[in-house]
Symmetry: C2
Subunit: 189 residues, 2 copies
């Protein structure tokens, strides 16, 4: 286990608080109390509350960008790519469910980095949609609106962070498989 710097500890504890109450509702005094120090002392390790949010969100967004890059440029079939995307979301969401909450709910509170975040997200969605469109052309998936398909799958994957911590009995592999089944083949018998 790597030793965690005090700065990393603050960011980790902040992410947990942000998940519970949202960025705006968490005060620096809340964070300091959770760390067992005074609010003023936080500023020996971090520059600002805003910087904490930047670190949490941008590192996660770049992790998704990197994962999507590898998946979209592979030679897999559309269905295989989709399964890998599902796996990507399950893995990141299980490793960092606190950060995922900020990514999903608090990105609008980014200041200097909001534009950059929105570009990463938009690129990700475009890659996703291209995979679906290629799958339709190749006859792998049904010819329905790619927008609606992407919306449906992606919102489910984006909400995994809420759900994964409650289901510790379910292994990640099992969850990935079940989700793949449901999202791709539906629930109809």
């Amino acid at each position: 286990m790597k030793t965690e710097t005090r700065q990393q500890e603050i960011i980790r504890v902040a992410a947990k608080l942000f998940k519970e109450k949202g960025y705006s509702a968490v005060t620096m005094r809340d964070l300091a109390k959770a760390m067992g120090i005074k609010a003023a002392s936080l500023y020996n390790h971090i520059n600002s509350k805003q910087d904490i949010l930047n670190t949490i969100i941008i590192s996660l967004a770049e992790e998704f960008t990197e994962g999507m890059k590898q998946i979209s440029t592979s030679n897999d079939t559309c269905i295989e790519k989709l399964k890998k995307i599902i796996q990507l979301h399950v893995n990141i969401s299980s490793k960092n469910s606190y950060g995922m909450a900020s990514l999903n709910n608090d990105w609008m509170h980014l200041e200097t980095q909001r534009t950059y975040y929105k570009k990463l997200r938009s690129d990700y969605e475009n890659d996703f949609k291209t995979i679906l469109e290629d799958g339709i052309k190749a006859g792998e998936i049904v010819n329905a609106k790619p927008d609606v398909m992407m919306f449906s799958i992606l919102t489910t994957l984006r909400s995994l962070y809420i759900w994964i911590p409650k289901k510790e009995d379910l292994s990640l592999e099992e969850l990935t498989n079940t989700l793949s089944q449901i999202l791709i083949k539906g629930i109809n018998k």
Copy 2:
């Protein structure tokens, strides 16, 4: 068109601001500016910021409860019930996408009504799960984990408020049908 009271107007404008920035990040001064009056004047029409949130969330939660009650007690098949649930979410989300944002993201900031809200939500999810379990028993839907199926469908439906306002070209009926197809039969060909 019904005439809107000043109070209703404040709640409507507040819901819009809450959707953009979240409950905690919206100040009474923000709300007053959006209304074209001073913050103090708001209190002639509403009791508190918290009361605005209560009204937005509880009325919506009760609307879902009422809809689910009619669906779950009907004699429809499981698949028909699911389609009606999808329709319920599409209808409410299109009528009130601002309020849906608060319902999804700001319920944790409820004070006196949080327990009541959580009961309504929990009852809703139990009814949903029962419908799925009955569908499995009846052989209508696949024998996968009802939790995962419900999570997948419900998170998609709960995120509709983000998506519907961006797709004004798509009719609600068309959206309901496409979503039903995708959520029930999957995207696999």
